[in-house]
């Protein structure tokens, strides 16, 4: 980054950079100030996570010390041992994973199928289906909460994996995303396959889906994260410990017990957050892309 007087046209706008040579000193101050602000912001944003990670290796006694310590004075893994021995965290981890994977798989298949039908096929009632699905984006979750609970209970699915999964295997946002993306695939490509005698299912599985890689990745990561973090539905539906997901388990041994076991809570929180952070870093390109797709265009 050399400081040139002419603005770099490829990089986005930097209004002060555009002004004439008299502002060079001003620009250096500007740059330092900008980075100081950004670093301060970053500390505020990820500080709590760092604190969580470090805290999970402290004792509750050390966490309550005034003034607080930054690094653990006497690092201990006792909290993690408790999570795995005294509490059944492997089981909760397993439940969270099963539910999130099933919800994601359902969304990928069903949303892309409907997305294909809406983008590339003609059938009676197509417009109605699209409008109905989109309209539900504005419906607050609490509206369906109670009827869903009654439904799942009457189906005998309360406190089962199916009860945690089924209400979320289809989602309006996924349809929107897949319809947008599949709409961008040229018709000529599909028509050529039709002329060669390919059926719509062959076209869908052999041509369309393989071209949808980025959109499917975006949908997969967003759905997985949403399901992994979802909290209220499993809190109500999972009534015995063997069905708890991670957020449910964490909430039940942390909420309303602020004074005890803070260090253990930090370790539990880290177990909930860490897989998300790893996934997030690995797939961040698809996350930001997805938001830009559904948001801007």
């Amino acid at each position: 980054m050399t400081m040139t007087v002419t603005p770099p046209t490829a990089t986005p706008a930097d209004p002060p950079a555009v002004t004439s040579d008299g502002r060079v000193v001003g620009r250096r101050n500007h740059r330092v100030l900008l980075h100081v602000g950004l670093v301060a912001g970053l500390i505020l944003m990820i500080g709590p996570f760092v604190f969580m990670a470090l805290g999970s290796f402290k004792t509750t006694g050390e966490l309550r010390q005034v003034p607080p310590t930054f690094l653990p004075e006497d690092p201990t893994v006792a909290n993690y041992r408790d999570l795995f021995d005294r509490l059944d965290f492997p089981r909760y981890f397993f439940n969270s994973t099963v539910v999130a994977l099933a919800v994601t798989a359902g969304n990928l298949l069903f949303c892309s199928m409907l997305g294909y039908a809406l983008a590339k096929l003609e059938f009676a009632g197509k417009r109605v289906v699209f409008v109905l699905v989109l309209a539900t984006l504005m419906v607050p979750a609490i509206v369906t909460f109670m009827p869903l609970f009654v439904l799942i209970s009457n189906m005998g699915l309360a406190n089962t994996h199916a009860g945690l999964i089924l209400p979320f295997v289809v989602g309006a946002l996924g349809v929107f995303l897949m319809r947008q993306f599949i709409g961008g695939i040229p018709d000529e490509l599909l028509d050529a396959a039709r002329i060669d005698g390919a059926g719509e299912y062959t076209i869908f599985f052999k041509i369309v889906l393989p071209l949808c890689g980025p959109a499917l990745a975006t949908l997969a990561i967003l759905t997985f994260l949403g399901s992994w973090n979802s909290f209220l539905w499993p809190l109500v539906v999972a009534s015995t410990e063997d069905m708890y997901t991670l957020p449910v388990a964490l909430s039940l041994f942390s909420i309303g017990q602020q004074e005890t076991n803070v260090a253990l809570q930090m370790a539990g929180a880290l177990v909930v957050v860490l897989p998300v952070v790893i996934l997030f870093f690995a797939m961040q390109r698809f996350i930001t892309q997805g938001i830009a797709t559904t948001g801007i265009k």
Binding site: P7, A17, L38, L42, L114, S254, V273, Q284
Partner: protein
């Protein structure tokens, strides 16, 4: 159905291309075979419950009736009358309104500030900042609450510990009726500003640099390029972000559930929380009525935002 669509498309474009022929029987079969798996699930788990909720709001259904839901009585709009005359609901509505009116602009301005800062060509390690600022958006509220409850603790919390170092006696952030709701607003802004930032950043990057160059040639100073170029061009994005953020914030619930349980003295009770409590008590008719009031409120607020922020006429 098809007739309506056909007349609409003709009305919209007088010199329209030849009218699309009605889909053949085979086309319908193929199309629906793709649409049906989603649509069947959608009707059972989404559309159905929305309708059931509306009907329930007109009945006296309670949790004890769910094995025989057709034996309940229709009570007209009694539940809605009960909702609006319930002081708890009013308290919750005021709290929710404050949360939205303060929280949405705060979250969006912080997100925009971060986006504008990151959009400066001279920023190094942009990716690191972007990731860090977005991280809270994708993490579990329950996990975040563990840390925030500890940070905001009255006696041994980190925030008050730091304030103590400079001689300030910090308040009980989460257990004082004056500070509980503002604390949750700040926490929500912290958690959600990354979403606004990402969307604003994408929009900022699509603004052509020549506009700023032209403005500079014309002698635009300090805030003028931002005020007269950036903001007007961001208008559609601001609309989008404000609608999405508002729809989310009107449903504000998980933050008080994990941080304060609605307390102290209902200071952080929200409308959705109130509905959830009534659900737990088994008052299903009342719960449904509250949730439909929410539904209407969200539709109204979205409509107002669209009117306020639509392209200049």
């Amino acid at each position: 159905m098809t007739a309506i669509i056909a007349t609409e498309s003709i009305a919209a474009t007088p010199t329209a291309p030849p009218r699309r022929s009605r889909p053949s029987r085979k086309q319908n079969l193929v199309g629906w075979s793709f649409a049906l798996p989603f649509f069947a699930m959608f009707v059972v788990f989404m559309a159905g419950p929305i309708v059931v909720s509306l009907i329930t709001s007109l009945t006296d259904l309670r949790s004890t009736d769910i094995r025989s839901p057709f034996g309940v009585n229709f009570v007209g709009f009694d539940n809605y009358v009960d909702v609006f005359s319930d002081p708890k609901f009013r308290k919750a509505a005021v709290n929710t309104a404050i949360f939205v009116v303060v929280g949405v602009p705060l979250t969006m301005s912080l997100g925009l500030l971060a986006a504008v800062a990151l959009n400066q060509g001279i920023v190094k390690f942009r990716r690191v900042f972007r990731l860090g600022f977005y991280l809270p958006v994708v993490t579990s509220i329950v996990a975040i609450a563990v840390v925030w409850r500890f940070l905001l603790g009255a006696d041994s919390g980190l925030v008050n510990g730091l304030l103590d170092q400079v001689g300030i006696d910090g308040p009980a952030w989460l257990t004082d009726t004056k500070y509980a709701l503002p604390s949750l607003i700040v926490m929500a802004a912290w958690k959600n500003l990354g979403f606004s930032m990402i969307v604003f950043l994408a929009a900022l990057q699509s603004i052509p640099v020549d506009l700023y160059e032209a403005a500079a040639v014309d002698g635009a100073k300090s805030w003028q390029p931002f005020r007269y170029i950036t903001l007007p061009l961001l208008r559609p994005t601001i609309l989008f972000v404000s609608v999405i953020t508002t729809i989310g914030y009107v449903q504000f619930f998980e933050e008080p559930l994990v941080m304060t349980q609605g307390g102290p003295l209902d200071a952080t009770l929200s409308v959705t929380y109130h509905a959830y409590n009534q659900f737990s008590f088994g008052n299903y008719g009342y719960t449904a009525a509250v949730s439909y009031v929410m539904f209407v409120a969200i539709a109204l607020v979205s409509f107002i935002l669209f009117r306020l922020l639509r392209p200049n006429t």
